[in-house]
């Protein structure tokens, strides 16, 4: 499932990159313009702390298993400009804004809402929040509940 979501995400980002060369900036880049959403996201959204689970659980995981975890617990792992490691890309170590809204370098540069994916739907969430995980962890995505 993760592989499938990774492929979908890669396809989406790949299309954006091929068209716009957009890169992942990290959620801190969103703070200046979207401070309220950022604060709410940081305070209430579990994604903002998703890397912490990896720091706790990674000791029992193999390298391959850990890489699969990075796909949903970090921002843009395996993609151009995405998360590589905690030391190299500390700003991407949690699942930030760009996990759902896509790479924000162009939007950050232009400030044009068209340069980023603004409206999201459930399918965007199912990349990580598939039905199995929802049943297992009760992490139902709050697309309409106001995640931030």
């Amino acid at each position: 499932m993760l592989i499938f979501s990774f492929s979908s995400s890669t396809g989406l980002v790949g299309t954006a990159r091929s068209e716009d060369q957009r890169k992942y900036m990290g959620s801190e880049s969103c703070k200046e313009c979207h401070s309220a959403e950022y604060d709410s996201f940081k305070q209430f959204n579990k994604k903002a702390h998703s890397f912490k689970s990896l720091t706790v659980l990674k000791k029992g995981l193999s390298a391959g298993e850990l890489e699969k975890c990075y796909e949903c617990h970090t921002t843009g792992y395996g993609q151009e400009g995405g998360f590589r490691s905690e030391l190299e890309t500390p700003n991407l170590k949690n699942a930030g804004c760009e996990v759902c809204h896509g790479p924000g370098s162009l939007h950050a540069e232009t400030g044009d809402p068209k340069d980023i994916k603004g409206k999201l739907n459930a399918k965007d969430c199912e990349v990580c929040h598939n039905s199995e995980r929802i049943n297992a962890f009760k992490y139902k995505p709050l697309v309409y509940g106001g995640a931030h």
Binding site: S53, L57, K59, L61, S62, F137
Partner: protein, 505 residues
Amino acid sequence: MNNIHPSLQVKVVVAVAALVLAVLASIITVNIAYQQRQMREDFQSSTNVLANTVYNSILYPMAIGDSETIKQQMAEIEKDGDSTRVHVFGFDKLVTYTSESKKIDKDLSAEINSPQLAKALNELLATGKVPGTGFDEEKDGIHYLSLLRPLLNEKRCHHCHGASRPVLGGVLISQKSESMFQALDSIRTKNILVGILGGLIILLTIFFLISKLVSRPIHQVISGLNAAVWAVSDASNETAAVSAKIARGTSSQASAIEETSSSLEEIFAMTRQSAENASRADQLMNDVERSAIDARDSMGQLTKSMEDISSASEKTQKIIKTIDEIAFQTNLLALNAAVEAARAGEVGAGFAVVAEEVRSLAKRAADAAKNTAALIEGNVKTIQIGADLTIRMGSEFTEVSRNISKVGNLVKEISSASQEQAQGIEQVNHAVADIDRVVQENAANAEQAATTSERMKNQSRHMVGFVNGLIALIDGRAKDGETGEDNEATVESKLERKHSKELHI
């Protein structure tokens, strides 16, 4: 010897005490073990319930990654005090969640004070299996009962923990068992006290019952037995002495009877000889009687002959008288002749001579006739005497014959009496032989009785020794310094003394 000989009562009580104590100790031990096991099972059951509760309560938060809830639960447990400790640990034995906050991220091995528990922990992490029982631990002087629960890497866990490890870790739940151990100590103490008290009561009861129901009747029996044994001993002594005397007397009697028997044999032989002699005498007497009869008959004939001789002599005497008369007549004739011859002178001389001769012949004839008559008369007298003698002899022979007949009858009676006597003696001899055999048997029996009496005497001595041993066993003391070994010797000396006294008396 100054050996201590406890009484039978004491021995029995000691033996029963040992048995009772052993049984009570076994019962108490089993009871304590049972109660301990029961209490331990109850405690473990409650600990199991607690462990299951804790395990189930943390399972869901762990499944959804809600570590905060787990931490709160641990904090709640910690807040309740140190009666319960919970450690959630990973495969590396590091404590992830704990009710003792200072133990977080510490190695769980340092918290374990039981080798069995440490071994079970390794087993759990290797295989995911845990034993059903808990483990006793002592930590800081406090006893705990600890249980392990595995956290298996189920499919629902693979999202966070991957699938490479079968066991993710486990939960160690320790519950303070001081109260259980205190209760066990209390139960043990109560059991021991109850056991000691019960044992004392049982021992006192046994002591009393033995004294009342066993020792006293045994003493009575021993008294009776002792008296009976001494009486038997005396009786056996007397019996032995009497038997010996009887044996000796019977032996003498046997020899006397043997002599009597041989004498009787001789008497029997002599009597038989006498009977035979009497029989022969009887036969002889019969012969004599017949001879006497014959003699009497002969005497009769002799008498008759003598009478005939006498008669013939009388006739001869008459003849002689006739001859004498003839001779006288002849003489007269001769005289006449002579006279005539003388007358005739010379012519007659010759005649005278003849006449003389005739007269001489007549004289001689007369003389011869006289002599003959005298002889015949003497013969007649003699014959008469002989006849008288013959008659008297005949009567005497008759008397003799009668007497011989009487003697014969007497001899017959003697003969029959001798035969009867011989038969009687033979019967007596048989009877004596029977008596001899009986006496021999009696002698043998008397000797056997003497031997038996001697054995009986010895047995009675043994019995006295046994009774004294029994008394010593019951009373727990050796009378007169006796012991079980020298009882018999002492009894022997007592009996000897008693026997000596009896001999002196």
